[in-house]
């Protein structure tokens, strides 16, 4: 039932929130940042797919959001290509 699905997603989101807070206290160094970003992406995906009903939307609508996501990913990759590949002494 629709309401049941919405409620389960809400519970899942709160669980992920608890997980992300917990993970930030683990002694695993920089992996914390990566895990937290991954959890944030998972939450965003759940909100998009179920709350925003992308599950039942047309392919065109999904493609539009996908374009924005891919473009942001491109920005991240190429920014990283600059900042992580600088010679020693800058970062």
């Amino acid at each position: 039932m629709e309401l049941g699905r919405l409620l389960s997603v809400w519970v899942a989101l709160l669980v992920l929130l608890a997980l992300t807070i917990g993970a930030s206290f683990l002694p695993i160094g920089d992996w914390r940042q990566a895990i937290n970003l991954a959890i944030a992406a998972a939450k965003a995906a759940l909100i998009l797919w179920v709350f925003m009903a992308f599950r039942t939307e047309t392919p065109l609508v999904r493609l539009v959001m996908l374009c924005a996501a891919v473009l942001l990913f491109v920005l991240a990759i190429l920014l990283a290509a600059d900042y992580f590949l600088r010679p020693e002494g800058f970062l």
Binding site: L60, C67, V74, L75, L78, A81, Y83, F84, P87
Partner: protein, 553 residues
């Protein structure tokens, strides 16, 4: 070519004060100022934009004239250094955001897209009007910045000059561009939804004129790139107004981060300026040759390819700003790739012209000018994409010449070509063809005389944004300024003969050029609702020879 259409009664005379079509058109549908300022008709909004961008062009061209006047001599005698900085900043800001970006999309895109796809208006007509008002608000902020003394940061607003050291009305200018950006975004949303949802029955993607394809690609860039500019300028404003420094090296920030975010928008922005121009040229080339466009799908997909790859190349503006060598190599490679779809278009236009029966009217002269000048601009762009050359010519007049070949030789020339091609449709009048060709000649010759010497100057080392230079550069600078006066004449001429044609021009029929396209099947000028009933499209675009003037094939 200038024969009256089949639908006008001969007893009207060839140049009446008001033709019958005009009386029933969108131009006569309400004569009050209110009916124009509160219109939701895409055609009227296009005219509002046409008037505004022409005014902005005049302001920015005046700034350019001052600059070229200053550069006649090696010393600074017309302007101070500060004054010169303010002149080129004003020139850049207005030309980029208040002329080039809105020119073809907001005048011809607005006017023609609904007509070309068989719709009665854009998807969101009131949003369209809002776009114009937002644009004018941005323009007002720009003019205020000018009146209060100007800005000296360059149109690129690099930090920390813009965020920290510049005195002047930086926040006003930043706010102006921020506001104008929202006009762009709303236009992009309108175009995307219109093209997806308002095509007439039978108007499949494969039957769309290339003008529509390129405007679709442009709209994608408008919607996805402009917000990044908006937020970047907001960050600079926050630093100036509230002292919140993200780009401040003293706090550990990186001015290059500004450049990354700024060029992430501003490189795709140049494709916002050039893609619509390419769409215009596709239309002008098939119209002049009276021949089907060669390689329709190649040209259509190349528009999308340019938009996509155009998002991946921004780092080539920062090769000498401290960007990592590895990132620079990646950007250099991608910048070479982005030339491929543009080249595909040029080859297809050439192939279209081959064995066509070409009409050398003014519009086509502009289109030919575009092809030649765009190729030169593009080739020099490839040179700039190569790291070794860029290190030598970055921040010199070589770069200035390159982008003016694309922006002026390309985009502005195509804009004028569009004006000369669709003027009869928009206003129902033919202009004097001879004067049209004369202005095309003035513009082509004047343009080359102005900007070719700048390639040489830049290669020899003359830096850009300087109002003084070593005396050995004077000859080329004088040639360049002379060319600028010819160019100026070329721009003023159309204002005269086009305006004259509004009352005194011969009546244009529905299809004075005898070309394909749904816009040529309605009267000139079109009635407010464009089509009596929705057309049903059964043929492809560019199906020559035309069987009848009022069909699209």
């Amino acid at each position: 070519m200038s024969e009256a259409g089949l639908t006008n009664a001969p007893s009207e005379g060839t140049a009446p004060r008001q033709t019958r079509a005009e009386a029933q058109s969108y131009l006569s549908d309400g004569n009050s100022l209110r009916s124009w300022l509160l219109t939701t008709d895409h055609k009227r909004i296009a005219i509002l934009y046409l008037i505004s961008i022409t005014a902005f062009f005049a302001v920015a061209a005046t700034a350019a004239a001052l600059m070229r006047l200053e550069l006649l001599t090696p010393n600074g005698d017309v302007l101070t250094a500060e004054g010169y900085n303010r002149a080129f900043t004003l020139h850049g800001v207005i030309m980029v955001w208040f002329f080039l970006i809105p020119s073809i999309p907001n005048v011809f895109g607005n006017f023609l897209i609904p007509l070309m796809i068989g719709a009665r208006d854009l998807a969101f007509p009131r949003l369209n009007l809002a776009s114009w008002y937002i644009f004018m608000a941005g323009g007002l902020f720009t003019l205020s910045a000018l009146i209060f003394g100007g800005v000296d940061t360059g149109w690129t607003f690099y930090t920390p000059l813009s965020s920290h050291y510049a005195n002047g009305n930086v926040v006003l200018a930043l706010a102006a561009v921020f506001i104008a950006g929202w006009s762009s975004i709303l236009t992009g949303i309108n175009f995307i939804v219109t093209i997806h949802k308002l095509r007439a029955p039978g108007m499949t993607w494969g039957r769309l004129p290339l003008f529509v394809w390129t405007h679709y690609a442009t709209a994608l860039i408008l919607v996805l790139a402009t917000p990044v500019l908006a937020v970047t300028l907001l960050l600079v404003m926050a630093e100036r107004v509230f002292g919140l420094g993200i780009f401040d090296p003293a706090l550990g920030g990186d001015p290059l981060l500004f450049e990354h975010l700024f060029w992430f928008y501003s490189h795709p922005a140049v494709y916002i300026m050039v893609l619509p121009a390419m769409g215009v040229v596709s239309e002008l080339v098939t119209a002049a040759a009276h021949k089907k466009l060669f390689g329709y799908w190649f040209v259509a997909y190349s528009s999308l390819a340019i938009a996509t790859i155009g998002f991946l190349v921004w780092g080539h503006h920062m090769f000498v700003s401290g960007e990592s060598m590895y990132a620079s190599t990646i950007f250099s490679f991608l910048s070479l790739i982005v030339a491929v779809p543009s080249a595909i278009k040029v080859y297809n236009w050439t192939a279209t012209l081959y064995k066509g029966s070409i009409a050398l009217n003014a519009a086509f002269l502009f289109a030919m000018g575009f092809i030649g000048l765009f190729v030169m601009g593009g080739l020099t762009g490839l040179m700039l994409a190569l790291l070794a050359i860029d290190v030598h010519v970055h921040d010199t007049y070589f770069v200035v010449a390159h982008f003016h070949y694309i922006m002026v030789g390309g985009a502005v020339t195509a804009f004028l070509g569009a004006v000369h091609f669709w003027w009869p449709k928009m206003f129902g009048r033919m202009y004097n063809e001879v004067w049209g060709r004369i202005s095309a000649a003035f513009i082509f010759i004047g343009f080359n005389l102005t900007f070719f010497p700048q390639f040489l100057l830049g290669y020899m080392g003359m830096p850009r944004r300087y109002h003084v230079y070593p005396p050995e550069f004077q000859t080329l600078n004088v040639l360049s300024s002379a060319g600028a006066s010819l160019l100026g004449i070329g721009y003023v001429l159309p204002l005269i003969y086009l305006f004259y044609s509004l009352r005194n021009g011969e009546t244009a029929g529905d299809n004075p050029w005898h070309v394909t396209g749904l816009e040529w099947t309605v009267p000139s000028p079109p009635p407010t609702h464009n089509f009596e009933e929705a057309p049903v499209v059964v043929n492809g675009p560019y199906e020559y020879p035309l069987s009848h003037d009022s069909s699209i094939a």
